[in-house]
């Protein structure tokens, strides 16, 4: 706990971050899951998920944020998201067409409807969330390396 106070911003920012970061993350998940029935979707939700981790990094410094989601895990999730999306596309071949929506569509405006679209959104959300966080980490690390040299 004591180490957490060494890096990052002031106590006020840290406290507010601690209170809000979970909600931001949940809101991102909400946007991803409701992508097929309301505005939003995989990309928008994924960006919000990534923002919650970036928020953590800005307030607490990179050590705490990287403990929650390390660079390796982020790149793992990124590749997995892409593979998942491609797998959904390839599974469409079971119905005869690439990217065929092969699951029954269900009733409109329900959470479990629209066939493969929610699954695609989840895959895209994973990919975008992890990817954006990885980009941010890469930019931050690059700057850090340079600072250490001086």
């Amino acid at each position: 706990m004591s180490k957490e106070h060494e890096q990052g911003m002031s106590v006020i920012v840290k406290t507010v971050t601690r209170l809000t970061v979970g909600m931001i993350f949940l809101y991102g998940v909400y946007i991803v899951l409701h992508g097929h029935i309301s505005p939003g979707g995989g990309f928008a939700g994924g960006v919000i998920i990534a923002l919650s981790f970036i928020h953590l990094m800005l307030a607490y410094g990179k050590d705490v944020a990287l403990r929650k989601l390390s660079k390796k895990t982020a790149s793992f999730f990124e590749s997995t998201g892409a593979l998942l999306f491609l797998a959904i596309g390839l599974l469409g071949f079971s119905g005869g067409y690439f990217f065929l929506n092969f699951i029954p569509k269900g009733e409109a405006f329900r959470l479990f409807s629209a066939g493969t679209i929610p699954l695609c959104n989840i895959a895209i959300g994973l990919k975008v969330g992890a990817g954006l966080f990885a980009i941010f980490v890469a930019l931050a690390m690059l700057k850090l390396e340079k600072g250490e040299k001086k």
């Binding site: 309301s38 505005p39 990309f43 409109a108 405006f109 954006l132 980009i135 890469a138 930019l139 690059l142 700057k143 340079k146």
Partner: protein, 112 residues
């Protein structure tokens, strides 16, 4: 009509920024401006008079909505823009690391 024209003006501002500025970061900003001008034009092209947003919901019926397709396409184009911009920023940071400057007139080792 004038609003389409203003979009093209914005695009030209971006191009001017890319062609005339010497600072790498300003060039990247120019690219972003030009890109958003094109995106804005795409959205405006889809506008229909008195149209409303193309969002279906259970209890309302939409009579006159704007063309939803360009909105999806612009989202794609924004994602591409994100990738290009972040790559350019990383390259710019690396360039600063090696050359110690953001001035493109001083980064000219390739000639011929």
């Amino acid at each position: 009509m004038i609003i389409y024209f203003l979009c093209l003006v914005l695009f030209c501002i971006g191009l001017y920024c890319i062609l005339r500025k010497r600072n790498i970061i300003k060039i990247i900003v120019g690219i972003i401006i030009a890109e958003y001008a094109v995106n804005l034009l795409f959205i405006l092209v889809a506008y229909r008079k008195n149209g409303r947003s193309p969002i279906l919901s259970p209890d309302t019926e939409i009579i006159n909505m704007v063309d939803p397709l360009p909105q999806a396409l612009v989202l794609t184009s924004i994602v591409i823009g994100l990738a290009v911009t972040s790559l350019l920023v990383v390259i710019a940071m690396r360039i600063y690391e090696k050359y110690g400057t953001f001035d493109i007139t001083k980064i000219r080792e390739l000639k011929g």
